[in-house]
Amino acid sequence: MKHAKYKWNTAFTVRTIASWLVALVIFFPIFFMGVTAFKTELEAIAVPSIWSFEPTLDNFYVVQERSDYVSFAINSLITSVASTVIGLLIAAPAAYSMAFFPTKRTKDILMWMLSTKMMPAVGALIPIYVIFQSMGMLDTLGALTIIFTLMNLPIMVWMLYSYFKDIPNEILEAARMDGAGLKEEFRHILLPLGIGGLASTGLLCLVMAWNEAFWALNLGAANAGTLATMIVSYSSPEGLFWAKLSAASLLAIGPIVVFGWFCQKQLVQGLTFGAVK
């Protein structure tokens, strides 16, 4: 007799239906927005909402034309990618050193690094603003990149440290016995074994930098605006704009939401600083 995978009694059925219901309700706003992006403006504000319509790509074109989506997207891309790469370059050696050459102070230093992430952004707003203003760097991509790097650095160090610690020390010792100096150790062992960790950490930080709104709104709006700021310009415009807003939003969040699906585990590790296993 073939054994069923699930036991379908009442409790199970209720649970399954309830779970799906909750998930659909929570996801609904995103779904609604996604659908609206393909409607015309009139269809978009129709009450009650229309569910069968002919999809159109017009909104996407208008968004690009009117607010130059592409240049904002490029800014978002540059700042997220640059800050992630720079962050990894700074964080990886530190994480390596703490994982493989721990001292009595290593744990304290790690804790201290994490604590810098706990400072509320608003606490640094004024000094940073003043500093960048005096350097003429307000509203530049460079400023945003620096800030994003700083914000994500503690998380990167922490996560890379965890990944490196998962590499058994004995493997590195075996490599040393086999004649590997530091360079060879890095190239043949650490890099291949650690690349997974580097990639997922990078992905998580990319997502967080992309979504960053506080600094983007405060430090740069015109030239260095990211997608976060572009969306704000849709906040109270004239005329009908829902469909376009949806299109713009979809373009802004689309890839990131998908990336996010792939870094669930890293999110838990990274944002709780490992306090939850």
């Binding site: 010792e173 016995m177 086999d178 100096g181």
Partner: protein, 337 residues
């Protein structure tokens, strides 16, 4: 001049004196086993020889060269780790050829050495697998193969068999002994299992709390232990230790007396040198162990014999011993010859 020499080697962890001035001379071709209870420092000593732990005092001389400060990669030693430490992302072939590739040896030569070693270890069919596709025993052999391929001056083994099941352990033990002879190697082997020590070693180094208690061939240690610790560490079941008064003046001047279980004979109650009451009988098939509670002292001894026994717990029994096999120890636990 010995091949590998430890001269007053010391190790500190902070204030903890882990290795206390060890002297040891090892000849080329010897199979040396470091044995001792957990925490005695045997693994630490091995790792110090390997270069994975720093030597805080004294010198380490290999083939005439002082290697105390040398990086592990430059000492020409190979180590087989307890957990095998195979490179998980490399195939068996790459694992075994790694050191040679780092040394930029001729690829044809590397190929030859690897296939020879794989052949010796029955790994030829597995050369293209990765470690996670191998069983424990196979991984063990890859770890050994990785060491063989390098033809090092000394092989170091850090409890290589402890992660294997009992059957595999016995088999691999024999293979290691065989390889050592075939390769004319010099090997240092760490274990907590005294059976491995007794069967593999040319000489055994018994350690406790950072010092060497005794060095000698297995039989030397078994028949002529220099102190109580060695006497009781080597031999299974443990040597029976009794206060001297149990044997009266036969003990002549000793504080404690030791007799191995096989040197006791059971006789009828009332006869023999010692009287007691049977506490437990363990019939193992090839031998029988009888636990006897000795009269007059709070001591239990174990008697070993090949024959089955009809004795039962609470039976009274007499014990005779072979006086020539008696080990006498003074109050400090040192053997009195």
């Amino acid at each position: 001049m010995s091949f590998l020499e430890l001269q007053k080697v010391e190790k500190y962890y902070g204030d903890f004196h882990a290795i206390k001035g060890i002297d040891l001379s090892i000849q080329q071709g010897e199979f040396i086993v470091f044995v001792g209870p957990s925490g005695c420092g045997k693994s630490t000593l091995l790792r110090m020889i390997a270069g994975l732990e720093e030597i805080n005092g004294g010198d380490l001389v290999l083939d005439g060269k002082n290697i105390t400060e040398l990086h592990p990669s430059k000492r020409d030693l190979a180590m087989v780790f307890q957990s095998y430490a195979l490179y998980p992302h490399m195939t068996v072939k790459d694992n075994m050829s790694f050191a040679l590739r780092l040394a930029k040896e001729d690829p044809a030569l590397i190929e030859e050495k690897v296939s020879k070693a794989a052949d010796k270890l029955n790994l030829t069919d597995y050369l293209h697998r990765t470690p996670k596709e191998l069983s424990g025993g196979q991984r063990q052999r890859v770890a050994i193969g990785r060491a063989i391929v390098r033809s090092p001056k000394v092989f170091l083994f850090d409890e290589p068999l402890s992660n294997l099941d009992a059957a595999l352990r016995g088999q691999t033990r024999v293979e290691i002994a065989h390889l050592h002879r075939e390769l004319n190697a010099t090997s240092i082997y760490v274990t907590h299992d005294q059976v491995e020590a007794m069967t593999l070693a040319d000489r055994v180094v018994v350690m406790q709390a950072g010092v060497i208690e005794q060095v000698g061939s297995p039989m030397d240690l078994y028949e002529r232990p220099e102190n109580k610790f060695v006497a009781q560490f080597i031999g299974m079941p443990k040597m029976n230790l009794m206060p001297a008064k149990v044997l009266g003046d036969q003990a002549s001047g000793a504080a404690e007396v030791g007799i191995r279980p096989e040197h006791f004979t059971l006789v009828a109650a009332g006869e023999g040198d010692i009287q007691g009451r049977v506490e437990m009988v363990e019939a193992l098939g090839n031998e029988t162990l009888i636990h006897v509670d000795i009269d007059g002292v709070d001591e239990m001894v174990i008697v070993r014999q090949y024959e089955y026994t009809s004795l039962r717990p609470d039976n009274r029994v007499g014990i005779k011993f072979d006086a020539s096999q008696m080990h006498r120890f003074d109050a400090q636990g040192q053997a009195i010859r």
